[in-house]
Amino acid sequence: MTPRAEIHDLGYEPYRGARTPPARRFLTVARNVFAVAWGSRWGVKLPFIISVSTFVGASVVMYVARNRLFDMVRERGAPIPRAEQIIFFAFTYGFELAAYVLAAVVACAAVANDLRLGAFQFYFSRPLRARDYLAGKLLGLALVIGVPLFTGPVLLAVVRVCFAEDAAQAVSLLPVIPRAALLGLLGTAAFVLPPAALGALLGRRQPAQALFVVYFVVLTNAALAMAAVLKVPELSLLDVGHDVQVVGRALFGVGGGWPNVGPWPAAAALAVVCALSLAALWWRVAKAETSELGGS
């Protein structure tokens, strides 16, 4: 029998395997937020460079600050921070700057872009609930902004423990790690929820970014100046970044920072702003779930 070549058309086989449960699909949304943010240009890479530089610089300063010579000078009343307090200053002057850029570039756009590009039809015609979408977006943003604001101070706290001179000092320094984590969590919430809510309410990225920048550059400084001039420190509660710093000062035992209304009022103000932002996001997304699909 003569051998004969044959072409077999195998056709297309539909997927018949297991599907991931709907309750876990928010993780896909979160991963996509992170991947798209990382794929963008300087909006994400610049904050990354700021964060790494801050981490390296703060580690060097912490290493130097543990010298006994500084302890002696500090005991004589010189305002030199202890090595672990460097974490707070790195958070305030380095990591927060990076988070500010990320919040403006990524968080303001996260929901606003979906509204502008009709992506809610894409999402909600699939087995995805409004709460899965929102949880995924917020988790993704928290991962992006948490790289500087959470991972940065926590890693610095670990470095501080590693710089301990002996095991006893290392153990005594261990509480620095949860304090850094708490500060990181508060900072991440403050830099994720309000800008994302602004984007959701305005429905367009650029106006949301402009308003966010105006808030952080103009309104917050105006609130702090008014608090000083009118001698009403409570006005400083309007500055979310300042609220985080006030809590951070309490956590790391750093004095100053006037107007300082104390950690509990600052934490309460932060909680109110975050709750309002979350409510605004939920309202906008839940409305979009049932109204965005469909055309003429």
């Binding site: 798209v36 087995p127 995805l128 469909g294």
Partner: protein, 301 residues
């Protein structure tokens, strides 16, 4: 059967968007046209079938209840929206793979099927370009690709030929017409373009002012019949009508022709009547109305 509706109604406050929709859809075919003027309730019906809005009455999509099994329905249905719908900063293959993952496919399977879906839709060369750089026609194709990527059993296509040039429209319609055979998927094509529906669909649903005015085959909508004929003559249409009436046949004048009911399709009696009346037949053929005329009649009714 793809859809089953029993007294489905939807109200927005005082406004009734859908009223008393009943019918079994997708019995004779798997390519269903959803026809209706703007504001007829087509989008509301699609929302309701996807379980995105509450309603009165009973509905089944692939045997599932949109109230209880909305997520299961959306797992098994693909939706191609009318409006622009894409995500910023993503290539076509990333978008389709993401769509597959959101519909529950594992990551590797979603990526594999994203490539297959884009190949099916003729975008294999452009799949690594960002969707926002695409032309209108390419965006339509990527919308179709993301709708089929998770192997749905039923597709809702909302105005799929919007913005396409004639060649692109023809390709899109050919693709949609082939989908039931190539992917084993049922298609519900919502469109106001009657030629598109006529070209692709086996069955139609006609919605007007929130009511389901008709469900059935396109032939039944047009009133196609093997016994209804159109007759045109050179001169003497009235003389022929009289001769046909004398022979006991139902003949009605409709403009410059006669509409004639011939039981059993037997045309001999027509020629006999023409001979008796002395008129010359120029045209004798089964009567077929245009879909447009039939649609307008249903909508106006």
């Amino acid at each position: 059967m793809l859809l089953e509706l029993t007294d489905v109604a939807k109200r927005y406050g005082q406004v009734t968007a859908l009223r008393g929709l009943s019918g079994q859809i997708g019995v004779a075919g798997r390519r269903i046209g959803l026809l209706g003027p703007n504001g007829a309730g087509k989008s509301t019906l699609l929302k309701l079938l996807l379980g995105l809005t509450p309603f009165e009455g009973e509905a089944r999509v692939l045997g599932l209840d949109p109230r209880r099994d909305a997520l299961a329905i959306r797992d098994r249905v693909g939706y191609m929206p009318e409006m622009e719908s894409y995500l910023a900063g993503m290539t076509a293959v990333q978008l389709c793979a993401y769509a597959g993952e959101l519909s529950g496919l594992p990551r590797a399977a979603a990526m594999e099927r994203a490539h297959a879906a884009l190949y099916l839709c003729g975008l294999e060369d452009k799949r690594y370009l960002k969707v926002e750089t695409y032309s209108t026609g390419m965006k339509q194709r990527v919308k179709l690709a993301q709708a089929v990527v998770h192997d749905p059993e039923l597709l809702f296509l909302d105005e799929p030929t919007n913005g396409l040039d004639p060649a692109g429209r023809e390709e899109m319609l050919a693709l949609i017409a082939d989908l039931p055979a190539r992917r084993g998927v049922g298609v519900i094509l919502s469109s106001h373009l009657l030629p598109d529906v006529e070209r692709v669909c086996d069955e139609v649903m006609v919605l007007a002012a929130g009511r389901l005015e008709f469900t059935g085959t396109i032939g039944a909508l047009r009133g196609d019949s093997e016994e209804r004929f159109a007759v045109r003559v050179k001169d003497g249409l009235d003389k022929l009508a009289g001769a046909l009436a004398a022979a006991g046949l139902d003949a009605r004048r409709d403009g410059e022709e006669l509409s004639l009911l011939l039981p059993g399709g037997d045309t001999d009696a027509v020629f006999a009547a023409a001979r008796a009346a002395g008129v010359q037949i120029r045209h004798l053929a089964p009567l077929k109305r245009s879909l447009e005329a039939a649609f307008l009649e249903k909508v106006k009714a």
